[in-house]
């Protein structure tokens, strides 16, 4: 059929689930030795398309050609065999087993007796790891590795299958900048060897840095494919959301009031030491730093989720003791946690149940019964204010997009009428459109005089939204900087990597 310039051709792929047409006849063509970005908002159909490709959900109609041959009726194992491998967004290591056992799972080398040949398995592992310049003991347990290392192991695994096409689903979401650089250099090396990579990411700067081509999808439809160097951010966003987004960071200038929260010399057992900062009314304090800098630990301690060893916390000038989230709630502090799925949403419950969860006590009537009517009214009110897209509040939350799930969690905490709002990575894994909306919401809340602490690993977000920026490095505050126009990402990185500090060393 074709003259084999493409390793993969997906033609007119349709996928229907009961009641939903997830893919409405889309295409995807990948060349040999090409890094091809697949973009689209959550719900655009990217993951469904990938699931068709690797044989998790066979497509309802349409053809897939791999290396010029039509492939059909295959499962994941068979896809692996012909050379299609996927590195999933949520890494799936078998935690208490070794690197070698994870890589060769399901196809361990055998001795003549049919027993597993451990010696050979370790040697083979070393060889594969060498290909990606990773120097780790094959016997090391996965649980002892960092997320970045686990990611590398996944790539090693894909290579070990002799994969010709590797799909990477948001591989950088948990990596530091340095680790991302390392990942990119491995990707370039794979490309030189003629391997093709499908790269899924929400981070536009990464797409521009690494990809050769980009295909965009929206609402289950194929929008188009372009050479990356002929693209710019505005054009790409327009293709993805179908409209122009006027402002990514709609920061509203508002008067900043008195000091609301003052933290001094806060320490825990091992993650951070002598952390001092304050937040004023109507102020957004951005917290920047690399993964592992102790940012999440600080705010979780502040919220009473972790034990503090020493330090003082004052609210409105009065010292408060917060030893549990209950205490935090009494003191009008709200926390939007980092990992939505881990400790945010109750996936099996409805939007309604998820929304009032932090606020059950408020809806207990004198008769000790739950005030269903008032709760419904309030939840509906917030669904309107925050513009949560859901058919009704009795929809299961897991049926909503990531951005809307996040909004439900924001609603949950706003219902507690907080004065201090702590947001830990409020837009992680959320698509561009929803991101801008969450930013607008944060800005509005600050405008209402609430004090906001926002942790983010995305520097543009930090710089676009914050009044002041606190930077942490290895458990210490290295700088608290007034945000201004001329502040650069590089400057922040100096603090985040511990090369600069604006504070007396304590």
């Amino acid at each position: 059929m074709t003259e084999n310039k493409n390793i993969l051709e997906m033609k007119d792929i349709v996928k229907t689930f009961p009641g939903v047409k997830a893919l409405k006849g889309v295409d995807l063509n990948i060349g040999y030795g090409e890094i091809h970005a697949v973009m689209g908002e959550n719900g655009a159909g990217k993951s469904t398309l990938m699931k068709c490709l690797i044989g998790i959900h066979p497509q309802t109609s349409g053809q897939i050609y791999f290396e010029g041959k039509l492939i059909e009726n295959y499962n994941t194992a068979e896809a692996l065999k012909i050379g299609i491998s996927m590195i999933h967004q949520e890494l799936n290591p078998v935690e208490f087993r070794s690197i070698a056992e994870n890589i060769w799972l399901g196809r361990e080398p055998k001795t003549k007796l049919g027993l597993v040949d451990h010696k050979k398995m370790y040697e083979m592992t070393k060889e594969v790891l060498k290909k990606i310049d990773l120097n780790e003991d094959p016997k090391k347990l996965m649980v002892d590795l960092t997320v970045a290392k686990m990611q590398m192991i996944e790539i090693a695994k894909a290579i070990s299958y002799n994969a010709k096409l590797i799909i990477m689903d948001e591989p950088t979401s948990a990596l530091t900048n340095k680790e991302i650089k390392q990942l990119f250099s491995i990707m370039r090396k794979l490309k030189e060897e003629g391997k093709s990579i499908i790269y899924i990411s929400h981070k536009l700067d990464e797409i521009f840095e690494i990809s050769d081509k980009v295909s965009v999808y929206r609402d289950g439809k194929y929008i188009g494919t372009e050479d990356t160097d002929k693209m710019d951010t505005a054009k790409l966003i327009k293709m993805m959301v179908g409209r122009d987004i006027d402002e990514m960071f709609p920061k509203v200038e508002c008067p900043i009031g008195d000091i609301k929260l003052e933290v001094s010399k806060l320490s825990d057992r091992s993650h951070f030491k002598n952390v001092s900062f304050n937040v004023r009314k109507g102020e957004i304090l951005g917290v920047a730093g690399l993964v592992g800098a102790g940012r999440t630990e600080v705010i979780e301690t502040l919220f009473g989720l972790r034990t503090r060893m020493s330090g003082q916390v004052k609210i409105d000038g009065k010292e408060v003791m917060i030893n549990s989230p209950q205490d935090a709630k009494v003191n009008k502090i709200a926390l939007l946690t980092e990992d939505r799925r881990l400790n945010g949403i109750f996936p099996m419950l409805t939007v309604f149940q998820n929304a009032f969860m932090a606020n059950i006590d408020k809806y207990v009537k004198k008769s000790k019964l739950f005030d269903h009517k008032k709760a419904t009214e309030d939840v509906n009110k917030f669904v309107d204010i925050i513009k949560i897209k859901t058919p009704n509040i009795y929809q299961k939350i897991e049926n909503l997009s990531g951005g809307n799930q996040q909004k439900v969690l924001v609603a949950r905490w706003l219902m507690t009428e907080p004065e201090i709002l702590i947001l830990d990575e409020p837009t992680r894994g959320i698509d561009v459109g929803a991101k801008a909306e969450i930013h607008r919401l944060i800005s509005t809340l600050a405008g209402q005089g609430k004090s906001i602490i926002m942790i983010s690993s995305e520097l543009p977000e930090i710089m676009g939204m914050s009044d002041r920026i606190m930077v942490m490095h290895e458990g210490k505050v290295t700088g608290i900087i007034d945000n201004h126009k001329d502040l650069t990402q590089e400057e922040l990185m100096l603090y985040a990597t511990g090369q600069a500090t604006s504070l007396p060393n304590n």
Binding site: N92, V94, F96, R97, E101, N102, L115
Partner: protein, 343 residues
Amino acid sequence: MAEDTKKIKDNKEKSERDEKIERYIELLKKYGIIVALILLVVVISVAEPKFLSPKNLFNVLAQSAIYGIMALGLTFVIISKGIDLSVGSLLAFAGIVAASLGQVSTATTKYFPSLGELPVLVPILAALIIGALLGAVNGGLIAFTGIPAFIATLGMMTIARGFTLMYTGGKPVSQLIPGIKFLGDKIGPIPIPVIIYGLMIFITWILLNHTSFGKNIYAIGGNIKAAEVSGVNVKKNLVMIYAFAGLTCGVAALVFAGRVGSVHPGAALGYELTAIAATTIGGTSHTGGIGTVWGAVVGALILSVLRNGLTLLGVQAYWQQIVEGVIIIVAVIIDMRKNAKKK
């Protein structure tokens, strides 16, 4: 300045000391269960020297053989993040069928009156096949209908017990052929159940640590999604895991028949809990993906040393149960801390 240097030096020494202590704690955590067993043996032998007599020690081993063998199968099941509540009932059913096929021809109440004396291989194969088959049914239910292992095996526990009672109309089967009784006998000072137990330990160890089946068990319990994505046939492996657990019940049934010399329909009532306890004390985690064969062996030994020792010391049976319960809970608390720290 000098003070600072001293401080730094002190701190360094302190952290080195801490590290050393931490290493010891790590070691203790890893081998703590063996240390506990040794301590238990020492305490009991000081209090009652008779405990250490070879005859008694072999007795302890032989006592642990029956639930010890079942604990081996349960180790597979629990590592795969499952549970098997039916092992006691499977033992009873496999045992009673084997017994009915292995009665002497002169037996007063013979189950198959027209059947002469069969070669011992017949009851042995019957017990193994019935155990493995019913185990495979457990695994099949879990793998293909998706019902939780707890429910599938709870059902099987009741069903197999019902079959056992129905099979003989509630009556025991006794007067077994010498071939079966031999399985509960001794070679020199060594009880045959101990030899069978040893053999089963070896087989289980090979399966778990040196075959891809073993790797798959850890993968399924550790992360079933990862196993699927890696092309592991999860359903087939689940069936095999429960079939193996059933097979260990068949082996245990034969040891039981040999030791007791008869099988009654109420045999091995509650043994599933003892076997689960042994596996659990041995450090196999119910969160899946973690566990060892030697752990199950040490766990079974701790239970039988405890039972034997407390009996020798004249402690009331009620107290034995209370102590056992406490040990199970403490063992799991220690294990959870061990694994939580790693995470």
